[in-house]
């Protein structure tokens, strides 16, 4: 195709009049097919995305500048009032703190543990499929069900965990009163659900690593740890970045778990575990102030974009230095 096209197209500009004659209907269809088909094939995604993704995003921006009445579907323009209110609201900053705290408590251990599990599953173990499917099991459980079970375990008075702690002589932890314990409890639910999922993605990346790299490293005298840090980690870098970024986006949008954490679903009497999404929800569906809720949505969007970019650069640099370390080593060995 590419070799014939220049031939037919090349003479065309010189003699525009002759352009029509050589192209039959079929040929023209064929050209359109080449030029347009790819767009046609991806168009369903973009049409659906435009309808259910892009349009709401733009419409949310529109609402964010209004004092909006959901029922009458109308509003009055108020400029940046909604943004100003949100940024001056104590609740907003508390929920931002909570979101980041829960995010760090969940994503960091989650990725470390997931990498470890993936590395173990990558070994030659019996009943591979069984263990691999096993780690995915928590992911199948609906988040609300997970939240219900864990909320029960983390009960302040009659929870399973506190009674275990009492049995070994430790005082009850007030999971629903103190800030850090409540974050820890919610992060536990998130980790329970997502660790196995991330482990499987990382495992897939690890399986794609050529085995001769390990052999070569082993012959060079690298131990298990060394092989893990100098072969496995650098090789799964792109997947690692993907996992970190998706878990960042997910982590900043935690909603189900804090909402189901107590029966009120508003994040605690002193906003101990209210996350930004929960704040947004309360603003919209609790107070029916959709202008402010839309403003929160946009602020959250910007935070996620900023954090995602930061994350991307940091991850790239961090893992890049690992690769550099690996590159330096073989030289020394060969000498």
């Amino acid at each position: 195709m590419t070799t014939t096209q220049p031939q037919t197209e090349a003479p065309a500009p010189r003699e525009p009049d002759r352009k029509r004659t050589p192209l039959t209907w079929r040929q023209r269809l064929g050209r359109w097919d080449v030029k347009l088909s790819p767009y046609l094939y991806i168009s369903p995604f973009w049409i659906v995305f435009g309808l259910v993704g892009l349009f709401p995003i733009v419409y949310t921006a529109f609402i964010a500048f209004q004092d909006w009445d959901l029922v009458r579907n109308s509003g009055t323009f108020t400029g940046f009032d909604n943004f100003a209110f949100v940024l001056q609201d104590r609740e907003f900053w508390l929920s931002l703190r909570n979101t980041f705290s829960i995010f760090l408590l969940s994503s960091v251990p989650q990725i470390i543990v997931a990498t470890f599990i993936a590395a173990m599953l990558d070994k030659n173990i019996r009943a591979k499929t069984f263990w691999r499917m096993g780690v995915l099991l928590p992911y199948v459980v609906a988040p609300v069900a997970v939240a219900l079970i864990f909320s029960n375990m983390f009960g302040d008075k009659y929870g399973l965990i506190n009674s275990l702690l009492n049995d070994i002589g430790i005082d009850s932890i007030r999971w629903h009163v103190d800030v850090i314990p409540s974050h820890f409890a919610i992060a536990t639910m998130v980790n329970f659900r997502w660790t196995g999922y991330n482990a499987l993605i990382l495992l897939a990346a690890m399986q794609a690593i050529p085995r001769d790299l390990y052999e070569a490293a082993a012959i060079d005298g690298a131990g298990t740890m060394r092989r893990f840090f100098s072969v496995t980690l650098p090789q799964i870098r792109p997947t690692m970045i993907f996992v970190i970024i998706t878990s960042t986006i997910g982590g900043l949008q935690i909603f189900d778990e804090p909402r189901m954490y107590d029966t009120v679903g508003r994040g605690g009497s002193n906003h101990q575990w209210e996350t930004i999404t929960l704040y947004l929800y309360n603003m919209g569906w609790g107070e029916f102030n959709f202008g402010r809720a839309a403003a929160v949505a946009w602020i959250l969007f910007l935070i996620i974009v900023a954090f995602g970019l930061l994350n991307f650069f940091v991850t790239q640099r961090f893992i890049a230095s690992e690769t550099a370390g690996k590159a330096a080593k073989p030289k020394k060995v060969t000498k």
Partner: protein, 449 residues
Amino acid sequence: MSLSRRKTALGFAAGAATLALALAGCSSSGDTDSSAAPSDSAGGGDTMTNDEPVTLTLATFNQFGYSADSEGGADYMYDLIAEYQELHPNVTITYNVADTSNTARENFFTKLGPGGLADVEAIEVDWLPEAMQYSDLLADLTGGSPDGDWLQWKVDAATDADGRLIGYGTDIGPEAICYNADAFEAAGLPTDADEVAALFDGDWDTFFEVGQQYVDATGNAFYEENAAILQGMIGQLEAPYEDPETGEVIALDNAEVKDVYDTLTAASEAGLSSGLQQWGDDWAAGMANGDYAVTLCPAWFLGIIEGNAPDGNWGIANAFPNGGGNWGGAYLTVPAGGENVEAATELAAWLTAPEQQAKAFVNVGAFPSSESAAASDEVTSYVRPYYNDAPAGEIFAERAAAVEVSPFKGEFYFQVNDAMVNALRRVDEGTMSADESWAQFESDVTAIG
């Protein structure tokens, strides 16, 4: 069992079919006719009609006591939906039940403007003030009242400034005091329901004095949490948080509100409150384990105690501090944009008529807002075996008659109340002192609006 399940499945199928057809049909009446026919044949119901066949949709939440099939309840004594369809062979009712009042609220306000609500929509008193702001979008039901014997305050709350009645009252929640008889015995207090009622006869001071007595004797907390008692105390103030004239938030200037707050936080410091948050797991377990001895209980609360403490020994005292109080209740509304407003109004009126209210009470304990229903034999003879055969119907009829005040609830009622509940909980939890928490409440309330 399997038969009724199959029936439910069929009902769902029929419902889905009618819904799909109704959606496809949109506005022309010809389509509505055609949609009724297939649903009838699918449901196997009566198809014989003189009047034009019509499909009505009814949407409620939790358990209104209308039909066990749709509400997922145990055995109800009556099936009101089937009854209505028998009386009106041309009417097919598609009955949808939301799992919680919150789900229903979101659905209601999302569709109230653009359309798509059921022909008859139930709303809860908690969000009635919000619905009242859009009373023009709901049909005026003033003329259709069956015999107008609803409690006056129930009617007033659903009547807008122009005098339009937008909802027919279904149930109310007249409150009594439920007590754990075993815990009372351990504290040396009387356990007989009449004696306990005499003990609580008086105002809130009496209530807290008994509480202090109980705490001194046992060292245990007396009631569940401050926020639960707040509900009873605030419910007796005419205008707790907002000015009925202007709609302005006056919670911070209202000395009565501050009084309630001070009384409750003082009681909390004296150890009366267990601090277990209502509806939480610990709260439910605490009911069985005797962590607290009393709870303010409306009629619909009885089943909850039975569920949480199946082996417990609870009683109902026919008393309430300062007379009476109401907690909860609902209305049936007819969205004005619906296709079958007239037929829907008829259905709503029938469901809220005295006879049906009495039946719903027998089904699920939804206490009638109709005075003649409350006085009917069916209600007054109602006995609850769990509470040592307490004459529940009689008790709650008396409690309903004692309700004098219905507090003014405006646009901001629930935001302010929510801030107040949080303020009390912070003190219960010990995260803030009473003064700090009040200061936080002040800044929360200032931000509202």
